[in-house]
């Protein structure tokens, strides 16, 4: 599969995301924030970083980048889109995913090897996992606390749209320990932790993150 990774000004983990895509056996395609062009990719990753410095609100400015028009259309059309950390924030700001991410409750940047439970193994990005599976993936952010109003949270739970939840304690005050969510169709996934930093035993805490990228298959479930 051809998987696009968008680079915004201030993106940091774009190179890492492209590496992860390659290690999962796909072709990585670099996409530029300023182009109205997805270069015909089959899936898109919005990587981590501090787009535009994230001084205003994480993802608030990146959301308006030219390429996002295409990403939003493609996502509505069922294309698999994964937002990691800053990418998750951008997806929320773009209203492709519900809720928002605010400052960690401890008000510090935190970089940890975090235990997670994969709760939904039906999305385009989690089919390689089994529901209930525990994984260790790098979590690193200053504004990773997931918030939404109660109704939204209840709906997410009821519809099984919580993709991953923090295990062994809540590292940032996220409501209901939510680490990642998906849209109704299951093609758009936002995740605070960084699976692209857990794809090589040499340079991260194991390879538990690779599954997010190997989950992509020619016909992802939602396009059925």
């Amino acid at each position: 599969m051809r998987v696009g990774v968008v680079t915004f000004p201030g993106s940091l983990d774009d190179v890492d995301a492209r590496r992860a895509v390659r290690l999962a056996g796909h072709e990585a395609v670099a996409l530029w924030h300023g182009d109205h062009d997805l270069q015909g990719v089959d899936a898109v990753v919005l990587p981590g970083g501090f787009s535009y410095g994230d001084y205003l609100r994480c993802g608030a400015i990146a959301r308006f980048a030219p390429v996002m028009t295409e990403v939003v259309d493609a996502a509505r059309g069922g294309m698999p889109v994964l937002g990691i950390c800053n990418g998750f924030q951008i997806l929320c700001e773009s209203h492709l995913l519900p809720g928002a991410l605010i400052r960690n409750d401890h008000r510090k940047f935190g970089c940890l090897d975090q235990r997670l439970v994969i709760e939904n193994d039906k999305t385009a990005w989690t089919s390689s996992y089994d529901a209930g599976q525990e994984v260790t993936i790098v979590l690193k952010n200053g504004e990773g606390s997931y918030v939404a109003d109660q109704r939204t949270l209840d709906a997410l739970e009821a519809e099984g749209r919580v993709v991953a939840r923090y295990a062994d304690g809540n590292p940032n005050g996220s409501q209901r320990a939510i680490a990642g969510v998906t849209n109704e169709a299951g093609n758009v996934v936002g995740l605070m932790p960084h699976p692209e930093h857990a794809v090589e035993a040499l340079c991260g805490p194991g390879t538990d993150g690779l599954g997010f990228f190997t989950s992509l298959v020619e016909k992802s479930p939602v396009q059925r």
Binding site: P9, G10, L12, D13, V15, D16, R19, G34, G49, F50, Y52, G53, D54, Y55, K108, F109, G110, C111, L112, V138, K140, G142, H194, E196, H197, E200, L202, C203, G204
Partner: protein, 747 residues
């Protein structure tokens, strides 16, 4: 407001000028007049005063630093590609790769405004590395604070750590190591040093010089504001006849996003081959960049200062020349490449302006709206500043200090006392777990971090195909340096050398950051001179060069100077990072050995400091040959050493504790001789290693071959650290003691 021009300076030669307020000495001002054959314009005066300052001219230190230049500019792998004098030294690490690294200080600004001071400190060193044509790949942050329980430490430390993280994280540079040290002497004078490592291909090396008549000088990055020009405002207030200058910032605020764009943009213009010369703007801003580029080049330079994009339109030319606004770079570009250069800047939304060009003359000429405000020989500004031979003298009290040995202090006797001493030490501020600090740093970004905190060194993969990598460590024990600056500086170097070696990397070169008190105090100057001599001798014996560094003087509160703190960073290379030796015990059933000789060396130790609040005596022996032998063993042991951890602060006790806690693997050890000395002596040239039972003979043979003393200690396994006949400590209890301290203090 009246402009002071070269013409006016000639016409009105006797106007008196605020050279004293600008920190110039009478003879220095006279020399400037002599160089120019007239009085300087206020802009020239601004340039000379800032470039001839201690910070920029190294006038007190350079007579001592000179000896580093006398060392063979050669690493164990061959000639250095760029040495002292460049923005940062560059060394060959094989496979066509080169690495550049440098450590710098941002001490005083971090005391005034901890977050921004530390942040802009990181920003500055990163631009130094970038200016060599290298992609920055990692940062480190050696930090020193007052006592952990001092109120001001609770202002400074969280701010500094947040600043280092806030800036470095936002640049996408993994933080792979550093130091956190607490000592009374840093209370009014914290040390915030920052190190950056960069990687480049040999052919991409860029030097800071302006050559090629007609080449264009481009200033790009952030706009210029009134940052860091407090000093020059006396000039401005002269210039502004009516009512003095408008307000100038007392501190600088960093913009890491702009710096990130600057990095990507600069690497792209390098890749496109559009750069003839380049220089970062740091201390002394445009004064430094223009004069150094011109001075190092073969021609002169003409600059139209009014083209500089300003953040504050009220700035006078003197101020623009001195402004230390962050996130700016200056490039020298061939005329035909200018368009392409500006296009790449535009792509990254980085403002770029041609402000001048290289001339065939030998002068640096700067105009302000068509009027000449600067006309000087650039070398006299950049490279021919004053040199002081400051008096230095071994302090009267030094003998008494060295006579007051810690070996005489009362010691724990029973196993129970040893146990509580160990627990007390692992929980002490200088030995406890650093996670509260290091968890605020991104150590994973870029995906090439092989080792980071809490490993002995930080290790970065340079090439994904071949797995070539580099390792870096920074260290210094200021108490050792106080007791004997010569040996203390060597011990700093040797500990860092050891920390690189335990991972399996071959040490190649050092960079240093020499933090000392006032050079006007002969005792401090003696400490400085001794430290330099110590470093030079150790480097000569080890066959490694000093590729660069930084001097920070006047670190004192009132009359009392900080502990002399020569922080030393050692960089090593490893051919295959997948074979690196990890820090800490990996699995049960492995044999534990101590490498090196343990002497009764307790003076300056963490034990003496924590238990007795004592500093006195002679530091451990700095045995360069023994250290080199140990290093060779550790490097050759790669592949069958299953773990290695250096012994330093806290001695064997601390090394055992850290090794057990790394992966929750306990150990049972037996100590020959005096158990207290075995556990808490801080003799150098030692490391704790493990091997599989089957590999014991290989280790014995290797130790013999290198003449390194080898002591079997015991075996790994269990959930307890057990010292035979003395005590047992469950790892849960050990971890509680080790991890509790910083969170409890910082909340």
């Amino acid at each position: 407001m009246q402009l002071d021009t070269v013409a006016i300076a000639a016409a009105d030669p006797d106007r008196d000028q605020p050279w004293r307020e600008l920190g110039l000495k009478e003879d220095e001002y006279a020399r400037i007049r002599e160089i120019l054959g007239r009085r300087p314009t206020s802009s020239e005066l601004a340039m000379y005063s800032v470039m001839w300052s201690e910070h920029c001219s190294y006038k007190s230190s350079k007579v001592h630093l000179k000896q580093f230049g006398d060392l063979p500019q050669e690493t164990p792998l061959g000639k250095t590609l760029a040495g002292i004098g460049e923005n940062a030294g560059v060394i060959d690490v094989g496979q066509g790769y080169a690495v550049t690294f440098k450590v710098e200080s941002h001490n005083h600004p971090s005391y005034v405004e901890p977050y921004q001071g530390a942040a802009t400190g990181v920003g500055g060193i990163v631009r130094d590395i970038l200016a060599m044509g290298a992609r920055p790949v990692a940062v480190m942050d050696p930090l020193r604070f007052g006592p952990l329980d001092a109120p001001d430490t609770h202002r400074v430390l969280p701010g500094v750590v947040a600043g280092v993280g806030g800036y470095g994280n936002c640049l996408g540079l993994p933080n792979i190591g550093g130091e956190v040290v607490f000592d009374e002497s840093y209370l009014g004078n914290p040390l915030v040093n920052a190190l950056c490592v960069g990687v480049l291909r040999h052919e991409d090396l860029h030097l800071a010089k302006a050559s090629g008549v007609g080449n264009q000088v481009i200033l790009y990055g952030a706009r210029t504001g009134g940052d860091g020009i407090g000093g020059v405002s006396v000039l401005a207030s002269e210039t502004f006849s009516e009512g003095g200058p408008t307000k100038r910032p007392s501190v600088q605020v960093g913009d890491p996003f702009m710096e990130k764009l600057l990095i990507e943009c600069t690497l792209e213009v390098f890749a496109a081959g559009l750069v003839a010369g380049i220089q970062d703007l740091g201390g002394a801003g445009l004064s430094c960049a223009t004069s150094e580029l011109a001075s190092a080049g073969d021609g002169g330079m003409h600059v139209e200062l009014d083209r500089v994009p300003l953040r504050d339109s009220t700035l006078a030319p003197e101020e623009i020349l001195m402004s230390e606004s962050q996130e700016r770079m200056m490039a020298v570009v061939e005329p035909d490449d200018v368009e392409a250069f500006l296009a790449i800047c535009a792509k990254w939304e980085v403002e770029a302006v041609v402000i001048g060009e290289v001339t065939d003359g030998d002068r640096l000429e700067i105009d302000w709206h068509g009027e000449r405000v600067v006309d000087v020989p650039p070398r006299t500004v950049a490279h021919e500043g004053p040199t002081y031979h400051r008096p230095f003298e071994r302090p009267a009290g030094q003998d008494a200090l060295q006579a007051d040995a810690a070996e005489r202090l009362p010691r724990p006797t029973s196993g129970a006392e040893l146990r509580s001493t160990l627990l007390r030490l692992v929980a002490s501020p200088n030995l406890c777990d650093r996670s509260w600090v290091t968890d605020q740093y991104d150590r994973y970004v870029q995906g090439n971090t092989v080792l980071a905190q809490p490993s002995d060194s930080g290790m970065i993969r340079v090439d994904e195909e071949t797995n070539l990598g580099v390792a870096v460590s920074t260290d210094c024990n200021g108490r050792f340096a106080l007791l004997d600056p010569y040996a203390g500086a060597q011990l700093a170097l040797l500990e860092s050398y050891r920390n690189v070696s335990t991972g399996g990397a071959t040490p190649l070169a050092i960079s240093d950051c020499l933090n000392f008190g006032s050079p006007e105090d002969p005792a401090v100057m003696w400490q400085f001179a001794e430290a330099c001599r110590g470093l030079k001798d150790a480097c000569a014996e080890l066959g490694i060069p000093v590729t660069g560094g930084n001097v920070s003087l006047y670190n004192q509160t009132g009359e009392t100077a900080i502990l002399p703190t020569p922080v030393v960073a050692v960089l090593g290379v490893i051919d295959d990072v997948t074979r690196r030796t990890p820090t800490g015990f990996q699995t049960s059933g492995e044999r534990v050995f101590l490498l090196g000789e343990t002497r009764e060396e307790l003076s300056g130790s963490e034990w003496a400091h924590v238990v007795h609040g004592h500093v006195g005596g002679l530091p451990p022996r700095a045995d360069v040959a023994a250290e080199q032998a140990l290093s060779r063993l550790l490097v050759e042991g790669v592949g069958f050493l299953t773990s290695a951890h250096d012994l330093s602060d806290g001695g064997l006790a601390q090394a055992l504790a850290e090794s057990c806690l790394r992966n929750d693997v306990g150990a049972a050890v037996a100590l020959g001789g005096d158990a207290f000395v075995a556990l808490f002596s801080e003799s150098a040239a030692r490391a704790l290693v493990t091997v599989r039972p089957g590999d014991t003979d290989r280790l014995v043979a290797l130790a013999q071959e290198h003449g390194v003393p080898l002591t079997p200690l015991g075996e790994t396994g269990g959930a307890v650290l057990a010292v035979e006949g003395q005590f047992d400590i469950p790892l849960t209890e050990l971890r509680e003691a080790w991890t509790g301290t910083l969170p409890a203090a910082m909340g």
